[in-house]
């Protein structure tokens, strides 16, 4: 009975832990990509001569 519950717990734990780790990794990747895209857009704006938008201005 105890062993049986151990397998049940292990199955649910693998599922939720796997999902949690996957979402954490995905969130880190989205954050990194978003930061890079913002940085490059600013550099493009600078290269165009318009410069980055002033702080507080609507984007």
């Amino acid at each position: 009975m105890d062993g049986e519950l151990g397998y049940l717990f292990a199955g649910f734990a693998v599922f939720w832990a796997g999902l949690f780790v996957y979402l954490l990794l995905l969130q880190a990747r989205i954050r990194h990509l978003t930061r890079e895209v913002d940085r490059l857009e600013e550099r493009l704006a600078e290269a165009d001569g318009s410069g980055p938008p002033p702080a507080g201005s609507p984007r």
């Binding site: 049986e4 049940l8 199955g11 649910f12 796997g18 995905l26 493009l44 290269a47």
Partner: protein
């Protein structure tokens, strides 16, 4: 804006709460509401994760198949992002189906693994699409030729899916025959209801993850385009 676009625009508003509610219902159903199976005992409750994970695996690789066909047909890299996004989710759910199946198999069959047709063909699917993801990871995401070769590979790899589905009918396997996908489902109504709720919840979860991952892949493609633009401007 047509209806499909309006529905698609609502994905980040509708999917997370729907998925959360579905997953909560799945947990309560699987652990509390579903009756204890008489022969296998409580470990049979793994069915409410194992079976929907396998269904989500078919869904995700079905999306990979369709998106890969569209890559070859339309030559549009947005479909490549969808194929890669769905492939990661497919590999994730294949891993869940394999591991939960092994943990269910040990107390019921006496072994974690058996090289029978269903288990082996599912492992092959896992390896085929892991190789696909590795190949895409080392190639440039905006490389159209790599996308086309990968699309052909993904389409050929999908041939394993009907083999998995039919394996329990064509060969003698340790894995049981279908008990739900038939005209007279061999499950009590209470178990069938919980399995239905679990399948719906996992499908919502898989759909949300596929969309999230696809958007991430598109963001990666946009980043490469921006890098190329910045390099061109700064060289000029």
């Amino acid at each position: 804006m047509n209806l499909a676009r309006r529905v698609y625009a609502l994905r980040w508003v509708a999917l997370p709460p729907l998925t959360g509610a579905g997953v909560l219902a799945m947990l309560v159903g699987a652990v509390v509401a579903a009756p204890r199976e008489l022969v296998e005992g409580d470990v049979q409750r793994l069915m409410y994760i194992h079976v929907p994970s396998a269904q989500a695996m078919y869904l995700a690789f079905g999306v990979v198949f369709v998106a890969s066909v569209m890559v070859l047909w339309k030559r549009d890299m947005r479909w490549d992002a969808a194929a890669r996004g769905a492939a990661t989710v497919g590999v994730l759910f294949t891993g869940f189906a394999l591991v939960t199946g092994m943990l269910w198999g040990k107390p019921t069959w006496g072994v974690y693994w058996q090289w029978d047709a269903r288990l082996t063909s599912t492992l092959v699917l896992f390896l085929v699409y892991t190789a696909y993801l590795l190949a895409r990871a080392v190639s440039d995401p905006s490389d159209e030729q790599a996308a086309r070769y990968s699309a052909v590979y993904a389409i050929v790899g999908f041939l394993d899916v009907p083999l998995i589905v039919m394996s329990v009918r064509w060969w003698r396997t340790l894995h049981p025959q279908p008990i739900v996908a038939r005209l007279d489902p061999q499950l009590p109504d209470s178990m069938l209801a919980v399995l239905g709720i679990s399948t719906l919840a996992i499908f919502l979860l898989a759909a949300w993850l596929i969309l999230l991952r696809t958007d991430t892949e598109r963001l990666g493609q946009r980043l490469l385009g921006l890098r190329a633009d910045v390099d061109r401007r700064e060289e000029a």
